[in-house]
Assembly symmetry: D2
């Protein structure tokens, strides 16, 4: 009955997933830690008690002792590996993005539809974060009236050295895109992109996006990969009768040296520890129950589509309208 997992990718995300599954999720075992870098795989296997390490992801996916797969490989491998999972008929939790290319996302959907089972969950873990869930519950309660706007703020301490502005849209913003579609239960129509500095913006400058939905809401997103002060994700949902803020976890408040202080972490892990745990729990339960949960391949496609449009809007300086494929009935 234990779900035997093949973990593909032993980087920072893979290590985190392996740790979460081994320490916090009942009913699973780590069958393989797979990475081209065998040292990394070995290290994770040692700390998590995983049964084996491997270097060949396709072999792991197809291995008879693997029941389900977690993909935390580099982005360009997400779709090919997901396709291999579909071909093997195995449930897969694929880190976001499903693919950097919307066409590849379509390919994944085509394969999954053809295969006939819901096998793909994309790792947009914010859908499981207690703050996102509670704000959505407040909206669903009717207390706010209809949703009108969602203000989103995504801040990292510092971007990697080779960072360029478009990456804020293609790499960081998809979390915001998916969370907003889910929160508002809608799809996107268009995207406009602004940057401090405009056409002369520094590569390190934030990106500010205004995304319109087909149901009329505005989603306003700051992605600020060089915010300097800490990892900080905020948001406010504005309805006709009121608003609701996401609240990040804070464990203590200190009074010291003429200051009252709470602390930010340097990366996403403390902020979203509970979201990842809840996502991974829900994924395992969904496999056991046969009822898919979380973001599916269509959601992955939608996030990539708006990211592609956002990059175009960034370079063109104009509002870009989305032109999605018709939503396959399979994903209703």
């Amino acid at each position: 009955m234990t779900l035997r997992l093949g973990m593909i990718g032993a980087g920072i995300m893979g290590a985190d997933h392996a740790r979460i599954f081994s320490e916090q999720i009942p009913g699973v075992s780590l069958q393989f830690i797979c990475d081209a870098d065998q040292t990394r795989a070995r290290n994770i296997a040692d700390t998590t008690g995983a049964a084996n390490i491997a270097a060949d992801a396709i072999a792991v996916i197809n291995h008879k002792s693997v029941d389900a797969v977690v993909i935390a490989a580099p982005d360009q491998f997400h779709a090919p590996l997901t396709l291999a999972c579909i071909a093997a008929g195995k449930p897969v939790l694929c880190e976001k993005p499903l693919s950097p290319s919307s066409q590849e996302c379509i390919n994944v959907m085509d394969a999954e539809i053809k295969q006939g089972q819901h096998l793909v969950q994309v790792g947009f873990m914010r859908r499981f974060d207690p703050s996102y869930v509670e704000v959505k519950n407040i909206l669903k309660s009717g207390a706010l009236g209809k949703a009108l706007m969602l203000h989103c703020f995504h801040r990292n301490v510092a971007a990697p050295a080779n960072f360029e502005g478009f990456m804020a849209i293609s790499n960081s913003a998809p979390h915001e895109f998916d969370a907003a579609r889910w929160m508002l239960d809608t799809d996107f129509k268009s995207i406009s992109v602004f940057r401090p500095g405009g056409v002369n913006a520094s590569p390190s400058a934030p990106v500010f996006m205004v995304v319109e939905t087909i149901t009329g809401q505005l989603v306003n997103i700051e992605v600020n990969n060089n915010a300097g002060y800490g990892y900080d994700v905020r948001g406010e949902l504005v309805g006709e009768k009121g608003t609701a803020f996401l609240n990040a976890p804070v464990n203590a408040v200190a009074n010291l040296a003429l200051k009252q202080v709470t602390t930010y972490a340097e990366d996403w892990r403390p902020r979203f520890a509970e979201a990842y745990r809840m996502q991974n729990l829900a994924w395992v339960k969904s496999i056991q129950s046969g009822n898919p949960t979380g973001s599916n391949a269509w959601d992955g496609y939608c996030a990539t589509l708006v990211a592609e449009a956002g990059v175009k809007a960034l370079y063109s300086g104009s509002t870009v309208h989305l032109d999605p494929i018709a939503k396959p009935k399979f994903y209703d």
Copy 2:
């Protein structure tokens, strides 16, 4: 030595100014409360101890026992009355906007320059609000690095019955426009306007503006005149190294009925009580010292210019670039 004031306008703003000057500002006396509606004028005079009431604003402005004038008449009279004050050589604190028309603002500047004295202060009181002042001080301290963005949120409980979307830009947003120019010490270059519902937006829908400055910052402004839940003005300044939030005054926090609660007021008065007091104090001191303070006629022009552009952007759906006159040296 007492500064004798002529108060023009006995509506809600006029009543508030009369109350502030009589109760909280040393060194002034209320010489006239002037309003076409003599009952309103009488009521305010009775509660504030003002010496006289009057119906003719021009006569009050020119009266020899009036040293300085406060204009809280309807918007369309602001510029004509300000011009009368300039003609009389008397200092004037004019409620915002200086005029709904940028051309009229130019006329006021022309008159003031010709008259040769700095006589006009526009009632953008946020420049005196302790939260705006402290955020600006944090910026000036260098702690945040250079300013990159300013997020502004302006919310009223409910708009009047005849409210239309453009009024959010022409009537409410000027406070945001002036505060942002002052906070960032810059001028505006262009404005884009979005609304939930887009071209089909409800008249009650919020307006969302992205304003770019000539020095490259983004000023993102929600004006939400039907926010439903309370009068609420927020803001966050985003710099290269950190951010700072405006904090509104809160006197108590209650724990009741499964809730922790703080209260919002129904209008701006509690939120900006201190800002008005500080503004009016500073205005009186500036007359005594001869050193102008606060927003001048140029600032009033700049706020109206961007508001006019914003209304155009609202109707056109396109970004509108500002085309200001050259800043007169008089206002350097």
Copy 3:
């Protein structure tokens, strides 16, 4: 009509009062700044525009051009100077304590009763602080049910060099004592005193008091004159159905260097700036209207009485029961 004030004492409190009256209170003029140290008096007179300086407090009190008196002299002079004001039939705002000796407070009451007019207000300004007023209003609204407990926290950055533990009770706690009596509308029955370290407590250690009221509430007070981190006064009123916290003013919140930060001041002035202004405004109005406000001589006596009992409780290690005189009808 202008109320001409004699300011006795040009130390830090006197300077602050002079500044408040000159800058923020209409209807008054500073007739004398009186201090044995004429340089201090001169400096304050120069910055506030006071008309005269003086060295002889009694002469100032009796001067025909002085309508009312503010006493901010050292504590031991409070009662004698207040008695002189009563003898002169002039309203007096006396900084707390009315006297360090409850017997002297009785003497002041006797004199005031004999004189027959309510002339004495003690400078317990917290009764005018917006946070205290709002918490009391919440209590009066009935929302909390009956009051059961009041938790009070009084913290200074650092005590003076010669500080001893009893001073926390005799000098700092009276503000808490008066605020609690006023908030709960009751009187005190007994006081118990604890200190970290007990009988071996460091002179710098905080004092913790449990005060019982005649109507059954507990008032639990930390006075911590060496709190280290900032000037911080907090409080929570606990009722049968809920609680309410005092909220101190905060103008901005900064995000910097992995921290979210608000700042504390080094002394009481920013925290209670509004309380002092409102107190002084109310005092002036009360003289104009003839309706006394704020803490009277009886309140001053009650605060000193419990402070004396608290010092006894500190040294004895036992609960000390208060034995007040009967409340004179004059103070009902």
Copy 4:
């Protein structure tokens, strides 16, 4: 390798533990749900997938297929059942209190020492709560200097019908007592108890305790089982150089109807969900590793001893000094 658990008690705490172990803790299986009420046991077994139900706790404890035991039976059975676990040589997580009687706690220690293995963990889960852990980490960092006081606030919505004041001390306060001992790394010396209303206190009135430690700190505890407004546990640690507050988890903040609102739960489960999960994870790991964690039998004794003293202090109105047995070396 899976740890097979016998769950004793299927009331609210037992149900919660069964849910936590089944849903959130890897490496365990629920072998028995044991309760005299077989319907309750059945219900929990059905929702958690437990293998069996049982009615005889001793038989479960001794069953060869049970590796470890969780005791969530009524308080009076805690010690006898724990003694049975010791006799069987099986690790036991016993809900607090270890026993309502300090003598019974001594009996448990005697048996455990004689048995020679560390088998007993008492369910003082706050030691694992992220807010308690972070405040303790701040203290350990040295930032606060030495600890001087700990202010604790424990509030329930409403006490059961038959509640009496002493239960606040014997049933609710032990969580505070253990957390304070752990936080301050010390032991208690004496306890004083106060109540609003004093000797005439209503049975529903809160209890306020001042507990002194052998190292000189004060622990001031409000236990308010009828707080009315919500389940709320707060605390502030006061050190020589600063203070730190416990911060409870809050997921969202809503703006509605002239209020800004966060919500309280009606019971402890949301507040301490993470604490229970972390405790139960740590307990399982401690069995696997052989390194005990959490509160041991000595800690359980210390909490009961001060509770017994607190009840005496309540009835006597005097400070009661503790007279503990010497700490057995086994627990160093």
